[in-house]
Symmetry: C2
Subunit: 164 residues, 2 copies
């Protein structure tokens, strides 16, 4: 399900975090654990990845990550605002230095004109730093959208690490 | 990272749960999200998989799943007792009908004479039913141990579904 390049990037990111004793948490909706699975494929990752949350349902997003009902109502689960609150919730719940989160529509169902299949918001941030979140529309089928989301999440995490 | 057979099993399990309107939560240590990732590779899985928890650290096992400090101290994180409490915690936190959990040593580091690399405890249970947990020692490298754990977790879940 994951390309060798993705796993190589996971290894590079873990090395960079380990070198600075930074810990990480993940909060995933559309990737459903794929980001955590890629990171934990690398030996020694348990020292860095404190926790991962797969929050598919709105209830799980609220209960586990503290995403507000108001945000979900106003912006929807697939939104920049939700991605940002997922990052903040993961940082708070896991007590990690960094967190990365994604929420999107992997398809084949669930798309609409306003929010098509492939629309994904990815957020990344660190404790005491502003959280950045970007929207993407990835082409392809469910597997392609999920794989592209993992790669983009790693790119955002890399950017965050460059900035620390 | 996952074989086609594993994904086919995931699809079969999801169909069986959907047919009975049963929901699921996962709690993973050594597989680090791989069980959730396999299930969520299947379209429509979001209706069944309410939440997944990747609890690598003892702190995450306690905070997210309510595994007791006493259990971790007395039996260790890789133990039948911890696997059972992870199932109970996932059922409680996600409010799901079923939960599956695993905790083990994927290696290459972390093994000991008493608890070798490849030792994995997998638990499965349903709301209001006793949780069963089994110990395994899987051969091979980190990737092989993780893949074998996913397959065994699915076998336990299948057994649980046959019993409901």
């Amino acid at each position: 399900m994951l390309h060798a390049e993705t796993l190589a990037t996971a290894a590079t990111l873990l090395q960079a975090m380990q070198a600075r004793s930074l810990t990480l948490a993940t909060a995933e909706s559309c990737t459903g654990g794929l980001i955590a699975a890629a990171l934990t494929a690398i030996p020694g990752s348990s020292a860095t990845l404190l926790a991962g949350y797969v929050t598919y349902s709105n209830a799980a997003k609220q209960a586990t990550l503290g995403v507000s009902a108001e945000t979900l109502r106003q912006h929807g689960a697939v939104s920049r605002a939700t991605a940002i609150e997922m990052v903040q919730g993961a940082l708070r719940t896991a007590q990690s230095d960094l967190a990365v989160a994604c929420t999107g529509i992997a398809g084949p169902d669930g798309g609409s004109e306003a929010k098509p299949v492939g629309l994904v918001f990815i957020g990344c941030g660190g404790k005491g730093r502003p959280v950045c979140a970007h929207g993407f529309v990835f082409p392809g089928d469910r597997a392609a959208v999920r794989a592209a989301t993992v790669d983009a999440a790693f790119a955002l995490l890399r950017a965050e690490l460059l900035g620390i």
